[in-house]
């Protein structure tokens, strides 16, 4: 519960931070002019509306894992793309490509996911 409350607080603060640029709910949070790709281990998959969130541990050269949040569609849209908690589970290694957050936080809006078997799925 504490974690959820903290995440909500972080999200609200980020909205305050980007509100001057808010002309579209997607473009206000994310830089839709470029994409980033991260690879790491799934730690949690929030299969919820209005947006799902994949949580990942991403380790860079410093060997310090960074927790990334990968924002995506709500459950119905993900079911149609075949991305459900049955196939995407904690412990799996995946890559996610998407629009990075505008404020540099480890947050992106998912475009393409590379599944543990190497299959690429376009989500958005």
């Amino acid at each position: 519960m504490l974690t959820v409350a903290r995440l909500v607080l972080v999200a609200l603060l980020s909205i305050v931070a980007v509100k001057a640029a808010a002309h579209h709910s997607l473009a206000s949070l994310f830089d839709v002019a470029r994409t980033v790709t991260v690879t790491g281990e799934v730690t949690r998959f929030d299969f919820i509306a209005p947006h799902g969130y994949i949580h990942m541990n991403v380790t860079d050269e410093s060997d310090e894992p960074t927790v990334w949040q990968i924002e995506t569609y709500p459950p119905g849209m993900l079911i149609r793309k075949g991305l459900t908690p049955e196939v995407l589970q904690p412990g799996q290694k995946i890559s996610a490509r998407g629009y990075p957050s505008r404020d540099g936080r480890p947050l992106m809006r998912l475009l393409t996911i590379t599944m543990p078997d190497g299959e690429q799925r376009q989500i958005q």
């Binding site: 959820v4 995440l7 909500v8 999200a11 609200l12 909205i15 305050v16 980007v18 509100k19 808010a22 002309h23 579209h24 709910s25 997607l26 206000s28 949070l29 929030d46 919820i48 509306a49 209005p50 947006h51 969130y53 924002e71 709500p74 459950p75 119905g76 849209m77 079911i79 149609r80």
Partner: protein, 228 residues
């Protein structure tokens, strides 16, 4: 319920039934012609195929009032953050699917996003002048050939776009739905008139494809999980 009230209630039921039975006998004398079948069957699950750019295409210049509100827009004030349904016509046109259930008197559009429901009255009624403003308005429809024409009014004031463009309760949305590609594609031209927001009408085009085996999933949002 007390026994006395229960007895009283029972008497009212008997009187009501007798009256309705009498009325149905009277109504049966000149036989009422059955309603014609709808010329087009729109029923089914429809998946949005419009590009995201369709959302903002053709948008007219906002009025000075709408422009001022747009510039002052605070995303924290967006009711969606509190999981309040964005309503129509802000929502329902791109990205998320819907299911149409159709009878000769009514067409119901069941949207996946936020569980929005729109009832389109097809029985020729006129909406009363006063209705409590609703997030998705109130709608009546009619046929023009094979085309379904829906007129929506009484939309509660609020955001017209997620980006902060507002409407002030004067929205009229005129939708023209038609099928093409042997019934596999649904297309609509949606004309939004909102004089307080725009200098002219906002004419928009959208498409959907039929998902013959598809279904609509629950998509209910908990404010505790809402992260915009």
């Amino acid at each position: 319920m007390s026994r006395a009230r229960s007895r009283h209630h029972g008497r009212r039921v008997v009187v009501t039934l007798s009256l309705s039975a009498w009325l149905s006998l009277v109504a049966a004398i000149p036989s009422v012609a059955p309603a014609a079948d709808p010329p087009t069957d729109f029923s089914g699950v429809w998946l949005a195929t419009s590009p995201r750019s369709a959302g903002g295409a053709n948008r007219p210049e906002p009025t000075s009032r709408a422009r001022a509100d747009l510039e002052a827009h605070d995303p924290l004030d967006d009711p969606v953050i509190r999981c309040v349904m964005p309503g129509f016509p802000r929502s329902g046109l791109i990205i998320y699917p819907f299911e149409i259930v159709q009878t000769d008197k009514m067409l119901v559009i069941l949207y996946e996003a936020f569980g929005m429901v729109r009832r389109i009255y097809m029985d020729g009624r006129e909406l009363p002048d006063y209705l409590p403003p609703a997030r998705s308005g109130y709608s009546v429809g009619h046929w023009e050939g094979d085309e379904l024409v829906i007129n929506t009014t009484h939309v509660a004031p609020g955001l017209l776009t997620g980006g902060g463009l507002r409407q002030y309760g004067d929205v009229v949305a005129l939708e023209r739905f038609r099928l093409r590609d042997d019934g596999q594609v649904l297309e609509a031209e949606v004309t939004i008139t909102a004089p307080e927001t725009f200098s002219g009408p906002w004419v928009r085009s959208f498409t959907w494809e039929l998902d013959p085996d598809g279904m609509i999933y629950e998509s209910v949002c908990d404010p505790a999980d809402s992260r915009f």
